[in-house]
Symmetry: C2
Subunit: 341 residues, 2 copies
C-alpha cells in the first residue's frame, strides 16, 4: 500500500497525521491548526510557531542573498505570532549546512536573522547546527506571548463580518517570477546584472518582507479585536479558506476590492498573467488577513493600509470570488473554477 | 575571504555566530549555551530545546525503521528538557519530505513520535511539512516547564563535586557500528536478514533510546539537586567538557569507573576498538551526566543505575582521563591525547 503524498497535498497530509492527536497536558490550550500553538503560562499564554525552509523548494540562492534569507526566515515566523495577535519574543535557529557554505556565508545569513530580531525586538535563544549532505536547511521556531483574552484564532469569523487585508497582494509572487526569469535569461553567465529599475518594490516584497506588527498594533490602539486572523503565506485564497473552513462559514471576495500595487499589475501584464489570479494565489505576502464585525465598519474603513475586500456569509452560500462583471467563481486553494461550468 | 566550517567545528561555529548576541527581552532568562533556553512565564519557567536531524548525517534509512526514527527524534528532545531538570510538555514537529516517501511512510514515522509522546506524556501541538528535493529532514522543538529553583544548568559544577552518569556508555555507538557493518556486508542484496542474536541491547540503544526521566525523578525524590547536568548526546568526553568549561573547572574521570555493558565490550573487541574510547566518545547515549556535592556521596552511591565516575577539580588541574594503570590523559572532545607525550 503506497499513497503518494501529492494525492493528499500538504494540508491533507497534515490532517491525516494529526487528526487523532489528543491534547493531554493541562497546559496545552491549542494544538495543530492555527498560526501558532498556545500554551498556558499562568497569567499569560505562550505562543509557538515554527517554519521549515529548504533550499531549492523555498528559496534559490542564485538570486536570494543570504542576509535577506536570514531576515525573511525570521520575519515569517514573527508574522505567525502577530497573526494570533501576540508579540514574538524569542526564536531558536536550526541550520543544516553543506560544505558548499563558508563560515562567512553563515555569518551573513545570521546577520540577517539578527537584524530582523533587532527590528522586531526578539531574542535568539537557541538552536542547532548540523552538517547537511545537500543544500541549506533552515528551521526556526518562534516563541511569543499574548494575554488570553487578546488571542485571535482562525475559527471566529461570523456571518456578515467584513474581510480585511493589510497592504497589497501578489507583489512577492511577481518579484519571484521576475527573479526566476532573469535567472533563466542570464543562466551560465557570471556576474549577471539584470536591470531591475522600476521593479524595486516587487523585488523587496519577495526578498525582504516585513511582518505587519504595525497593523496588529494599530488594531489594538483602536480597540478592534478581529474575530479571526491569519497571515497570508500560501495566498489569499488558500488562507481565507482556512478561516472559512475553521469558522464553518463561507465568504464573498470582490475582484474590484483587491489591493494591488501598480508594479505587480505591470509585471503580471508582462507575464500575461491575470492580476486577480496573482493576488488570489501568489503567496509569500505576509499581509494580515482578518475579519471584523460589521459594527466597526466606520472605524476600520479609514485605517490607512487596511482594505475591506469582502464579507463572510453563511456556509450554505459557499465561498466565492466575485469578478468585476459580477460573475461568481468558486474560491479554491489553488486557482478557481467558474461555479457555472 | 572564505573560512571552511570544518576549521571551526560545530561548537566553534555556534560560538562565532552567537557570541555577540545580547538578550533584550525581560522574559529571556537564558539563551544559547545550555540544553534548553529558559523563558520567564510568571511563576514557572518555560524551557525550549530543538534538534535538527538530516538523512545521511544523523540517520540512515537503510537500517533505521521510520517508526523508531520518529520515537528517537522525539525522545532526544525530551532528554534535553530533563537535562535542565524540567518536564517536557509539548513538541512541534517539522518535516521535509522527498517524493521517495509515501503517506504510509510518514504515518509510520509519526506513529513513532506519537508513541514517544504517549510514553512521556507530551503533546504534539504544531509543526510544518514541506517538500524536500533530497531526503528526509526532521526538526523538532520541545517546550518544557520547570520551577525556577529546580532548574539545573551546565555551569554550576564546583571543585570536589562528584561526577555521576546514569546507565551505561558506548552501547548506542556500537549498535551503530554493527548496523553499518551489516549494511556493507549485505550491500546490494534485497531482504537482508543479518543475525542480531545476542546483540539486541546495543541495537536497541541505537534504534530506540529512552530519555532518563526516571533518573531525574529519582533525584527529585531523594532531594538531590545536581550542581550541573547535561544529557550525553555527543559523547561523555565532549559533554563533560561542556560542563567543565561553562563551570570554569577541571575534572578527573576514571577508566575503571566507566559503566559499560558486556555487549558493548564484546562488540568493541570484535571491531578492535578500545572500549574506553567507545565509552568516552561514542555519543548517542542520552544518559544523564551530572555533578553533585561530595556531601551526598552516601546517598547517591546506592541509587541503582547511577555511577560515580570521577570528580571535579580546580581548573588549574585541567580535565583528565585516568587509565586503569594510573596514567593521566588530557580529556578531549574527540579522542584524547596522553598528557605526557
Amino acid at each position: 500500500m503506497r499513497t503518494e503524498i501529492a494525492t493528499l497535498g500538504e494540508f491533507g497530509l497534515i490532517n491525516r497525521l494529526t487528526k487523532d492527536i489528543k491534547l493531554t497536558q493541562p497546559t496545552s490550550i491549542k494544538g495543530v491548526g492555527d498560526d501558532a500553538a498556545i500554551i498556558d503560562s499562568g497569567d499569560k499564554r505562550t505562543l509557538v510557531a515554527t517554519d521549515l525552509l529548504l533550499e531549492g523548494i523555498h528559496f534559490d540562492l542564485t538570486y536570494f542573498p543570504l542576509k535577506h534569507l536570514g531576515y525573511k526566515a525570521a520575519v515569517i515566523n514573527f508574522s505567525d505570532i502577530y497573526a494570533m495577535n501576540g508579540t514574538p519574543q524569542q526564536i531558536t535557529v536550526s541550520l543544516g549546512i553543506s560544505k558548499r557554505f563558508s563560515v562567512e556565508d553563515i555569518e551573513e545569513f545570521y546577520d540577517g536573522v539578527k537584524l530582523a530580531c533587532q527590528v522586531y525586538n526578539v531574542d535568539i535563544v537557541g538552536g542547532d547546527t548540523a552538517s547537511s549532505l545537500t543544500g541549506f536547511t533552515i528551521s526556526i521556531t518562534c516563541i511569543g506571548i499574548a494575554s488570553d483574552d487578546a488571542i485571535v484564532y482562525r475559527n471566529g469569523a461570523k456571518d456578515t463580518d467584513l474581510i480585511c487585508v493589510s497592504g497589497d497582494l501578489g507583489a512577492a509572487y511577481m518579484g519571484l517570477q521576475l527573479l526566476e526569469r532573469e535567472k533563466a535569461v542570464f543562466s551560465g553567465q557570471e556576474n549577471f546584472t539584470p536591470d531591475f529599475a522600476g521593479k524595486e518594490y516587487i523585488l523587496e516584497r519577495q526578498l525582504k518582507p516585513e511582518a505587519r506588527k504595525d497593523i496588529v498594533e494599530e488594531l489594538g490602539k483602536l480597540g478592534i479585536v478581529p474575530t479571526a486572523m491569519i497571515d497570508i503565506s500560501d495566498g489569499l485564497s488558500s488562507d481565507l479558506l482556512h478561516i472559512c473552513s475553521q469558522s464553518n462559514v463561507g465568504c464573498r471576495v470582490f475582484e474590484e476590492r483587491l489591493p494591488i500595487d501598480y508594479q505587480t499589475a505591470m509585471m503580471a501584464e508582462s507575464f500575461n498573467l491575470s492580476v486577480a489570479t496573482v493576488a488570489l494565489n501568489g503567496g509569500d505576502d505576509y499581509e494580515m488577513l482578518f475579519t471584523v464585525p460589521l459594527s466597526v465598519y466606520e472605524q476600520i474603513k479609514v485605517v490607512p493600509g487596511i482594505h475591506i475586500i469582502g464579507h463572510i456569509n453563511d456556509a450554505s452560500l459557499e465561498s466565492k470570488f466575485v469578478t468585476r462583471d459580477g460573475h461568481e467563481m468558486t474560491l479554491e486553494a489553488q486557482g478557481w473554477k467558474a461555479s457555472d461550468e
